[in-house]
């Protein structure tokens, strides 16, 4: 049996939302239901993907579950990036646990000091007192990567220029201003060697998808987008035990998803990819881990325009995480964009006749975990 995606919803990412965070959840859920022309009563299950503490509380889903329409419904929450919730919802449907599920992530970065919160995710004995936080670890990783493969500043800047330019076509993007190579390279260092315009902002936003078993999907939707492959993996927590120049969790997750989708040559078989470009370097590393090019070839890939709109595999037509980073929902938003592309609904940033798309997310310190979802029309 296949599992189809029959509806997507999202709100525009912004620096700081103006309403109560659970109201945002309701808006996202309603948008997805409107897109699918369904009502909340049609849903069997709510699958949430969100972190605790980012809004200063524990058990945040006490509010987001009812706000997503979960009253007296089956509920489960994946405490990770929202794309992992897709993996769980997918298995839940195959398991016959439910037929139709709303997968939803509310991303709120504005309500808490994210550097402090991510510092609290470190072991108290070895890492926390170093003052590390996730952004710093990503920068350390970027530094190692670019040193190993001699990635140039201009290659990194090219990612920012490409994605920020793509975001101009995306009404839900947070940062909608083009940047030039000059502006990127003049922007101040955020965490060396990553500059402010080379890393994702913090955003408030969120998105949702409706997944259904094949018979139900066909009943409600003439043209569902099908989940062709799902893969996820987990590396060791200890960064010092890893080769940081490679996103090995992404590679393993990609292998699992490719195997399931029967993809052998990603560059030929994929039409669009939405990658977790939390820094410019991480888009390049993800391209390599997913076999778009050989290790170290990411820089040339973007330079040659292979991943630009009009290239062989446009990467991040939505503008990517570099343009909107609603924490928790940032990975799930990658899949929303792939679905819009496959449905030819990505006005202003449409990849022509996209048949197969790939969404990728990472979470944890220096990409400890990764999840990949491949969708087909």
């Amino acid at each position: 049996m296949r599992v189809g995606i029959i509806g997507v919803g999202q709100v525009r990412s912004q620096a700081a939302k103006k309403d109560v965070f659970s109201d945002q959840t309701t808006r996202i859920a309603k948008d997805a239901l409107r897109d699918a022309a369904l009502e909340i009563g049609d849903m069997d299950r709510i699958v949430l993907g969100e972190y605790d503490l980012v809004t200063g509380r524990t058990a945040e889903h006490m509010y987001t579950t009812p706000a997503a329409g979960g009253f007296l419904k089956d509920e489960i929450r994946i405490n990770d990036d929202g794309l992992f919730a897709i993996a769980q919802a997918y298995m839940g449907i195959l398991a016959g646990h439910c037929e139709i599920a709303l997968v939803i992530s509310t991303g709120i970065a504005s309500e808490g000091p994210q550097e402090l919160i991510t510092n609290m995710r470190l072991s108290p004995f070895h890492h926390r007192s170093l003052g590390l936080h996730e952004k710093l670890a990503l920068a350390m990783q970027a530094h190692q990567y670019r040193g190993r493969h001699r990635i140039t500043e201009r290659q990194s800047a090219a990612v920012a220029v490409k994605n920020r330019s793509n975001a101009m076509g995306n009404p839900c993007a947070h940062l909608r201003r083009k940047v030039t190579e000059g502006r990127v390279l003049e922007s101040p260092f955020d965490c060396w060697p990553v500059r402010k315009l080379e890393r994702a902002p913090w955003s408030d936003g969120g998105c949702a998808l409706i997944l259904a078993s094949e018979p139900v999907a066909r009943r409600y939707c003439p043209t569902p987008v099908w989940i062709a492959g799902v893969g996820w993996s987990n590396e060791t927590y200890y960064m010092e035990d890893r080769d940081l120049t490679e996103l090995s969790a992404v590679r393993r997750a990609g292998e699992m998803a490719y195997r399931m989708a029967g993809i052998r040559e990603p560059m030929k078989e994929l039409d669009v990819a939405e990658l977790y470009d939390v820094t410019t370097y991480h888009e390049l590393m993800a391209c390599e881990a997913l076999g778009f090019c050989a290790p170290g070839g990411g820089g040339r890939l973007v330079e040659e325009g292979v991943t630009s709109m009009g290239g062989a595999v446009p990467v991040n037509p939505s503008g990517g995480v570099l343009s909107s980073n609603p924490l928790s929902a940032s990975g799930l938003a990658r899949l929303v964009e792939c679905v819009l592309q496959l449905r030819s609904r990505a006005e202003g940033r449409q990849v022509p006749s996209a048949e197969t798309g790939l969404a990728q997310s990472i979470s944890g310190y220096a990409a400890q975990r990764a999840c990949i979802v491949i969708v087909r029309r």
């Binding site: 503490l53 524990t58 195959l94 072991s123 004995f125 987990n234």
Partner: protein, 386 residues
């Protein structure tokens, strides 16, 4: 769609605070015990689900730190957090991994070290609404005390009836080598202990525990090759209620749990739960909930939970022993607690209960409870697949 069974269970001895081990070591202990119980090697495990509730452990997203030691290195790992129901949701997630046909053998690992946080109630207070409830100091104990007073008012239940739940739990825990609190108490002890939040006394409240639990789940294709007596997962139900206490029709009885129980019984064809279920491991963190839950599950008529306790129906040797392990009143590693319920129910079906074994347990019920009586997760296990 595959049928799924629990084929191995491992848990640590639960204590107030593990000063001898760091988080990965504690998770490793439980995972190894579960693998030993199933006589499997970590390489035979296809994926992991991990459960922990933030941030009692003093480390946010602590699963990232401990899941490698639990066997999650280079494997697919999904992290679950549904507050108090986390443990059961973690097992449900693992169940779906296998039932979907994606994996043959999966391990669910839940850990919590409440001993690492200075004040669990202050922390739990942050789960309540910052505009309406938080300033009142509402925390986990309120989900026991408010139904207690409501039940007394509505049905005339007594302090002594509630105290019996604590007496029973503590007597049962004497048989469980993994239980945290292992001492017997009398009704007088319970009612003589300090009031924590009226009308609940100290001995009517769960402790806060450190520890971990792991369960190995396998598909019907391999379960019988792993163990002669797997515990088949025959039904799984999860339900979410609204988040405000004041919106509930009646916190002493008509909560979402009664609806969830009926959904489970419908799915599994259970008509007379008291007779058809042999043993139950229920998430009962406060004595008052023993009354409300036994009623919601239909083990007795509405309002008669106290009498059920007095008549000994739910004690060891009764018609339907509830919490032979001593339950949550004696062991409460919050995010792992509900997984302990699933593990203990599986132990009963597998006949590995030792001193706490209910003879001829063929059907077992296990439950999880999260939020302010908001999330209920229940599971029916059987010696035969349904």
């Amino acid at each position: 769609m595959k049928r799924v069974a629990i084929v191995g269970v491992g848990q640590t001895k639960f204590v107030s605070q593990r000063r001898d081990a760091i988080h990965p070591e504690v998770a490793n202990e439980a995972a190894r015990a579960a693998l030993d119980d199933a006589r499997l090697d970590i390489d035979q495990i296809g994926a992991l689900t991990v459960g922990v509730m933030d941030p009692f452990d003093g480390v946010d997203c602590c699963d990232r730190w401990f899941c490698g030691a639990a066997g999650g290195y280079n494997k697919p790992v999904v992290r679950i957090n549904t507050a108090g129901a986390t443990g059961m949701s973690t097992v449900i997630a693992a169940y779906e991994h296998v039932a979907s046909g994606m994996f043959e053998i999966v391990m669910a690992v839940a850990e919590q070290r409440v001993g690492e946080c200075q004040d669990a109630q202050t922390l739990l207070n942050t789960c309540t609404c910052p505009y309406h409830e938080r300033a009142m100091g509402v925390a986990a104990i309120s989900l026991g005390s408010l139904p207690a007073t409501r039940h007394m008012h509505r049905y005339g239940s007594t302090h002594e009836q509630r105290a019996l739940a604590a007496v029973k739990a503590h007597r049962h825990a004497m048989n469980n080598p993994f239980a945290h609190l292992r001492f017997e108490v009398t009704v007088d002890d319970v009612l003589g202990s300090p009031i924590i939040e009226w009308p609940l006394h100290l001995l009517e409240c769960c402790p806060r525990s450190d520890g971990a639990v792991a369960l190995v789940l396998a598909s019907e294709d391999v379960a019988k090759t792993i163990t002669d007596r797997p515990a088949w997962i025959n039904g799984v139900v999860s339900i979410a209620d609204g988040c405000f206490f004041g919106d509930r029709p009646d916190i002493a009885y008509r909560d979402a749990l009664a609806i969830a129980a009926h959904r489970l019984y419908d799915r599994c064809g259970i008509k007379d739960p008291l007779r058809e279920i042999d043993v139950a491991e229920l998430y009962i963190p406060f004595t008052s909930l023993e009354l409300t839950q036994t009623e919601a599950y239909g083990f007795c008529p509405e309002g008669r939970g106290g009498e059920l306790l007095e008549e000994g129906v739910t004690w060891m040797g009764g018609e339907l022993p509830i919490n032979p392990s001593g339950g949550v009143l004696c062991t409460n590693p919050i995010g792992a607690t509900a997984a302990v319920r699933a593990a203990e129910a599986a132990i009963q079906i597998m006949g590995k209960g030792g001193m706490r074994q209910v003879p001829n347990a063929e059907t077992a019920l296990a439950s999880g409870l999260g939020g302010m009586l908001q999330f209920h997760t229940i599971m029916l296990l059987g010696a035969e697949p349904r």
